[in-house]
């Protein structure tokens, strides 16, 4: 029984002298919804392209469902549904024809699967409409429908909610959650809309400049994003010493912009401010705040400027 749906070992992709992806070690367990986070050009799409076989890695290894060899990995790809960048569809064909082409290519028996995904994504009324007349959102829906054909064990979705309206985004989110719950489908999803990912993913991978900075579960993320006292002072070094010596806490961190996040004394703001000011440090700002995934990501990659 395989444990991982996707595992990459030191996966790298080089264009000229620059690494688009460098020594990427992804570990995506079966049944997880893995949120792949990174800013534009971080290497998310390149990594996904290598995993799906569209781009060849410069070095490193890709394992799908614990299969190692080239031929085994190619066979394992038959168990994957993919939506990359913009949906890959034939504009001169109708919705039905596009689904049929993909059904034939994957060798899925019977046409029931087409009816099923059309119903799931409410594409039935557009069944006989040519795709070239579709809006971006409709094309994206069709792309998702193609990825879902034949109930794949692993879904790889690169920016799937681009161009979708809020109602459809909610529908897609619920659909993906249902797939995981009912069929234990593993999902790798990348998105810029971090709030959306936070509501969906059970595990996160943060990539920056081609390198995987961190892999963490939702629980670990929640732990890291818990409520803290954010203090800005005129002398950060001195304040840190005060926290350690007078307040006896090491449960804090200093961010790039010199904000100190204290995870203790959440309910005792008065004591904290009193001790800091009585030791000759002026407080410029003091707020009690919990991090969002967005804040966490921004801090991890080194602030907004980065």
């Amino acid at each position: 029984m395989s444990e991982f749906a996707i595992k990459t070992v030191n996966l790298s992709k080089k264009y000229g002298r620059d690494f688009a992806v460098e020594n990427l070690n992804l570990n995506i367990r079966l049944g997880e919804i893995y949120g792949f986070i990174g800013k534009n050009g971080a290497g998310k799409t390149t990594a996904i392209r290598m995993i799906t076989g569209v781009a060849a890695p410069s070095s490193g290894e890709i394992q799908l469902f614990d299969k190692h060899t080239q031929s085994e990995v190619e066979m394992a790809r038959k168990r994957i549904g993919v939506l990359m960048d913009h949906p890959a569809i034939y504009p001169n064909m109708t919705t039905y024809e596009n689904l049929e082409v993909n059904r034939l290519q994957r060798g899925i028996p019977g046409r029931e699967c087409i009816e099923k995904v059309s119903e799931l994504l409410q594409l039935e009324e557009f069944k006989n409409k040519k795709v070239k007349n579709f809006s971006l959102g409709m094309k994206q829906k069709l792309g998702i429908a193609i990825a879902l054909l034949g109930d794949p064990e692993l879904l790889i979705l690169d920016e799937p909610i681009n161009g979708l309206d809020p109602v459809v985004i909610v529908e897609i989110r619920e659909l993906l959650k249902k797939l995981r719950k009912d069929k234990n489908t593993t999902i790798l999803i990348s998105s810029h809309i971090l709030s959306e990912l936070y509501q969906l993913a059970t595990c996160f991978g943060i990539i920056h400049e081609g390198r995987l900075l961190e892999e963490l579960t939702l629980k670990e993320l929640d732990e890291k994003c818990k409520v803290s006292l954010n203090i800005k002072v005129d002398d950060t070094n001195k304040a840190v010493l005060i926290l350690e010596n007078k307040l006896n806490t090491r449960n804090f961190k200093v961010l790039q912009d010199n904000t100190i996040k204290i995870y203790d004394y959440i309910d005792d703001v008065k004591t904290v401010s009193k001790i800091i000011t009585s030791n000759g440090v002026n407080i410029e700002q003091l707020v009690s705040k919990g991090d969002s995934l967005e804040d966490y990501f921004v801090n991890l990659i080194g602030g907004v400027d980065n």
Binding site: R49, T52, V54, K78, R79, V82, I89, M93
Partner: protein, 264 residues
């Protein structure tokens, strides 16, 4: 592989460029019959030493054409068919890049070699239908409108199938070359421009440099021979051998390039 071939045939059936090309073939059939009916003069696109070339509407007795002569006239339209095939083969490959649909095929766990070969098979089948349509359409049209002497007998049928199969081989060699260039260049305008240069410079260069013997190794020359000469067994064998080498070598280069490519 079986699934891929089915997919490619499904796409072929719905390919807009292919439908347009079949329509143009229909127009060529009409043109062929009209020229016979109007008793127009002979048209030669390329003719070498008065022995072979693309010759249309050549009749011993213009008032009473034979069915075989109408068939030969239809064969002369191969000069246009080879241009249509260039557009068809390039668009059939390059549209996959344009729409990003190669990604679906690769991500679906299909090997690139299988994808390439299934595409070539579909293109070849498309050419077969087009060729069949051109030849049978012209001959049947000729029977109906021109009332030629000599009915659709065994010899005519044999000649038709011999031409269809041999020209299919030559056209497939050409299509394979265009597919190979398409995979390397990935730009429709450049591929079509290169194709037209190859098509027209090939005879010109060989004639001007007096190296027409080399034509035995080039698809356009082989097509001219098929269109205008009664081929003996040695010539047929030569055509089969040369075209097979063209197909295998262009496929090998095309597949090698495709294997190394990052598809977008």
């Amino acid at each position: 592989m079986y699934n891929l071939i089915r997919t490619e045939f499904y796409k072929l059936k719905r390919d807009k460029a292919y439908k347009n090309i079949l329509m143009i073939t229909g127009i060529l059939i009409l043109l062929c019959i009209t020229l016979v009916v109007l008793k127009s003069g002979t048209i030669c696109f390329i003719q070498l030493d008065n022995t072979y070339g693309f010759i249309i509407n050549k009749f011993a007795n213009r008032k009473n054409p034979t069915l075989m002569e109408i068939l030969n006239s239809a064969k002369g339209f191969s000069v246009v068919l080879q241009i249509l095939i260039m557009f068809f083969a390039t668009s059939f490959v390059l549209n996959e890049y344009k729409y990003g649909t190669f990604r679906n095929l690769i991500a679906g766990g299909n090997t690139r070699m299988n994808i390439y070969i299934s595409k070539l098979l579909a293109v070849s089948f498309g050419i077969f239908i087009m060729n069949l349509f051109m030849i049978f359409g012209s001959v049947l049209g000729g029977v109906v409108f021109c009332k030629p002497s000599g009915f659709l007998n065994y010899n005519t049928m044999l000649e038709m199938f011999k031409f269809i199969l041999l020209s299919l081989l030559v056209f497939t060699a050409m299509a394979s070359l265009y597919m190979c260039i398409s995979i390397i260049v990935k730009n429709k305008s450049i591929v079509v421009a290169a194709g037209i240069i190859i098509l027209f410079s090939e005879p010109l260069v060989l004639i001007m440099t007096n190296h027409t013997k080399w034509g035995d190794y080039l698809p356009t020359f082989l097509l001219m021979k098929i269109c205008s000469i009664n081929l003996d067994t040695r010539m047929i064998f030569n055509i089969i051998l040369v075209c097979t080498i063209w197909i295998i070598s262009t496929c090998a280069i095309g597949i090698y390039t495709f294997e190394k490519q990052d598809v977008r």
